[in-house]
Amino acid sequence: MGRVIASRLVGVLGVLASVIVVTFFLTRALPADPAVYFAGMGGTQAAIEAMRAKLGLDHSLIVQFGFYLRDLAHGNLGMSLTTGHSVLSDLMARLPASFELTIVALLLALAVGLPAGIGAALRPDSWFDHLVRVLGTAGVAMPTFFTGLLLLHVFYFDLAWAPPPLGRIGAFIAPPPHVTGFYLIDSLLAGQVQTLIDAVRHIALPALTLALFAVAPIARATRAAMLDALASDFIRTARVIPLSSFRTIVVYAFGNALLPVLTSVGMVFSFLLGANVLVEKVFAWPGIGTYAINALIAADYAPVQGFVLVMAVLYIGLNLAVDLAVIATDPRAAAT
């Protein structure tokens, strides 16, 4: 078991190294010249060269890469030119916003997708099954920014149920005292009910938009896994021995369907984290996606590199965790 974990870790570190290298050279391949961009309106040659030196871009690529690695070893992700803060502090400040949104969206999607998938598996080919599949597929078919704008128009503009999309919390409400960075949790911990309600109202639409996208893969994976589990020998055995059918389903079938579903959920989670970007733009959500896109458009290398690195670490870590969970429960899987 230990050997398995070790070999997995080595593989993971290798992938991480490649990601770092590729990102570095990809950002340098962007045609924009940050020295010109940040020299701005005063674009004389002297000003541009001064900017270039200030940015450390007057060295060769290899040397720059060396500096980058050295900084990375010290936990320094560089400075963002657009915000003026260190990339690490920017990311730390914005990650909770993205996480909170993704997790709430995931929970919403699970709340609908799991029961739908189970129900569809129980009655395959029924109208319910088809409805689930159709609705799920429809949710995935529309671009997230489109769905977001549509929901915004209906629920904010027409019905005035949703608050103005100005971020995570209203303009006149102070954020709750920082414990986790998740406004929903922090306000609950501090007992600030009005803040909690406001935070819930602000997260509702963006989370719904993302959830619509995640429901289909979750429902589909649950349905498939449940069908597999239900068709398995031991379930049929359990049915013959008359255990109550509800117990059969929930305890045994779902328990066995859990692992493939978990793998799917893991994939959906990491996909959502990346797909946040477009939803963040529509709702002015202060997450890491917007941060990265703004930096990319401004040829601000450090945040883009930092963002990709963080996302890669998260994704790899998540996969590793799911992988290990699978191996722990099913040793046969360690063979692949």
């Binding site: 593989g11 290798g14 992938v15 991480l16 490649s18 990601v19 590729v22 990102t23 990809l26 950002t27 391949a29 962007l30 045609p31 924009a32 395959p124 080919d125 599949r133 159709v134 597929t137 429809a138 995935v140 078919a141 529309m142 671009p143 997230t144 920014f145 489109f146 704008l149 549509l150 915004l152 128009h153 503009f157 289909a216 589909r220 498939a224 069908l227 597999d228 068709a231 996909f271 984290l273 990346g274 797909a275 970007v277 477009l278 733009k281 990265a292 896109i293 990319l296 458009i297 883009v304 963002f307 990709v308 996302m311 890669a312 994704y315 790899i316 692949t336």
Partner: protein, 279 residues
């Protein structure tokens, strides 16, 4: 005398065929699109700007007076072409890589797995953006970017399917019969591996179209004035608030509808091919 009731032959279409028929309709519309368009999709007209759907303009007109129906029809061809090219490319490269990795194993497996993991570790949309930003926003680059981020899917599926069948009896006997590796892979392994890959391809078509739409929203999509669903929806987004609903609705429906049909077809194909799921 007894009368024998005529036997009714129930024409039982395989499940999922409804979506395949829809798919065929979409493909035909795309191919014939430009010819079906009543107006020149690029012709502007100040007097006809931003008009709601009417008898002369079924889908209304956009801010520059261009007929939306014509643009939606013309865009079908481009969008499907982009998606097909991207999916075809990633299918070809990914499948070849996946089969190689699964069959040969060893260092080629590790290398291919490493590259695949690396691609998947990237936040995909940002990777696509980065590629298009670095290489320029041409249709070709959009295709390449979309293809690259989709390769891992085919590698994984291809590899997994090959691993299942690698030591199967029919492969063993083909090997014993003297078939070279390449011929073996092509004639025996590939056809068996094909079905799940085709399912992936169908699902991927939808993602490819959505990816192009997302890139357009950021501004890195196809160049104007070429009609493309993604750009039309992105432009139309600014009209959600001011009430000219037809500018975004029709391209959006075309976009969603096509992606939807591809997904349904993929689902249907998957159910059709997998014995477990058949009722």
């Amino acid at each position: 005398m007894t009368t024998v009731a005529p036997t009714t032959v129930k024409l039982r279409l395989p499940p999922g065929s409804g979506s395949l028929i829809l798919l065929a309709i979409v493909a035909v519309a795309a191919a014939a699109g430009p010819r079906l368009a009543p107006y020149d999709p690029l012709a502007t007209s100040v007097s006809a700007a931003l008009q709601p759907p009417s008898a002369s303009h079924w889908f209304g007109t956009d801010a520059l007076g261009r007929d939306i129906l014509s643009r939606v029809l013309t865009a079908a061809r481009l969008d499907l072409a982009i998606a097909a090219a991207a999916v075809g490319l990633s299918f070809g490269i990914g499948t070849a890589a996946g089969i190689t990795a699964g069959y040969a194993g060893g260092w080629s497996d590790r290398l291919i797995g490493h590259v695949t993991d690396m691609i998947m570790a990237f936040p995909l949309f940002v990777l696509a953006m980065g590629i298009v930003a670095a290489a320029g926003d041409t249709v070709a680059n959009i295709v390449y970017a979309t293809a690259i981020i989709n390769i891992p899917t085919y590698v994984r599926v291809g590899r997994a399917e090959v691993l299942i069948r690698r030591d199967a009896p029919f492969v063993q006997s083909a090997r014993l019969a003297g078939n070279g590796t390449f011929r073996l892979l092509l004639a025996h392994v590939f056809p068996n591996v094909l079905p799940p890959l085709v399912v992936q391809a169908s699902l991927n078509m939808g993602y490819a179209i959505l990816n192009a739409a997302g890139l357009s929203f950021i501004g890195l999509g196809v160049r104007p004035p070429t009609p493309e669903w993604g750009i039309m929806v992105a432009d139309g987004a600014s009209y959600i608030v001011s009430g000219e609903w037809w500018v975004w609705l029709f391209p959006g429906l075309a976009l969603a509808g096509t992606v939807f049909v591809f997904n349904l077809a993929g689902d249907g194909l998957r159910d059709f091919l997998d014995p477990h799921r058949r009722h």
